[in-house]
Amino acid sequence: MLLPDDVDVSDESLPLFTFPDSSTRFALVDNDISVAEFRPLDDIDRIIRLDVSSGDKTGDVVTIDGDEEDVFAIEVDGTTIEAYRSRLTSGGRFVSLDDPADERVELVNLVEPVQQFGPRLENFEEVLIDKNLGRSLTNTVLVTIVVVSGQIVTSILGGYAFARIKFKGRGPLFLLYLGSVMVPFVVLIIPLFQLMLQVGWLDNLSALIIPFMFSAYGTFLMRQFFISIPVEIEEAALLDNASRWKILWRIMVPLARPAIATLATFGFLYAWNSFFWPLVIINSGNPDGRVLSLALSTLGGRSSTDLNLVFAGAMIAMTPPILVFLFAQRYFVENSASSGLK
């Protein structure tokens, strides 16, 4: 029997199987076809599965276990044998990859699926382009870059002010900053949502960026670091008539590189992985405004039939933070350590 015209055996999306008797790979080109099971009259324990349309009635009748069965003439391996039809069932049609003329009919659960393991970048390509995860990825990249750089700048400035410059109300203000770390974000969700609604930033990346460019934790971190730098370094520069601004950027910031790296890695993880706030803000049907975590949650929820795509998406989301962690591990561990001793 010939293949349907629209089936291309080399199509990679066809599932591949091997039969127990050979190592040749077969593609499942058609499944759920009607299959007839024939049993040769000379060996009724043997089962030959063929397409339901094959075999011609010879007109004879044979009695098996008290039932009368029609006798069919079927062709097996080029020879015609007589057999009766024991039952009809459904199965699949397989075509050999090596020899397109070699076609078999078999029950799908009796053949061995071929395991293909190897890089399958198509999955990533499909999830990034067809499922629009690429757009979400760039949104996340944008949000992360701006949030992290914003946090670094504001935290350096604020931390320096808290550490070095005397002004009225500095102590109480710093306590307020410290206390703010204890307030869970859920308390702020509704008022911040109202604020974004009224400023017109709903469904917009601004709402994910601007409120998070300021970090009380980062300010605290930078202040602790600046305090640990000896005052003498600065005083010499101040006597040379350098401005605070110059001292900060020329002297303090280069010294504070480890603290900035810590802040950057923590900020990166926070911005990259955040989910609750984007869910609140970008949830009125604007797929182009989604960030990665949000798009991934939608993709994973839509259907579980594309698990390979969902997991490709999950790999895309999980790999950058893991890589950043592996490279910046030193800063993480040191900082977790200092907060643990507090």
Partner: protein, 72 residues
């Protein structure tokens, strides 16, 4: 702790220590391996339980998710 002790008993303790550390590490790594392996599967097999590097997958009953049929 008492890691500098010597003798056969210390060796057993050490082996046991490493074994438990490794088993915890396996539990930690395992979901990531599953995620990676599944992301490397062709669409039609993404729902078989085993990642593709395991041979002889167990047939799933019932094949509620994507048996090879549904995608065709």
């Amino acid at each position: 702790m008492s890691v500098r002790r010597k003798g056969p008993r210390a060796t057993i303790v050490r082996v046991f220590t490493y074994l438990s550390l490794v088993s915890v590490a396996v539990v930690v790594i395992f979901p990531f391996v599953v995620a990676f392996a599944t992301s490397q599967k062709p669409p039609t097999w993404s729902c078989s339980v085993e990642p593709l590097f395991l041979k002889n997958p167990k047939p799933l009953t019932p094949p509620s998710c994507c048996s090879p049929m549904t995608s065709m």
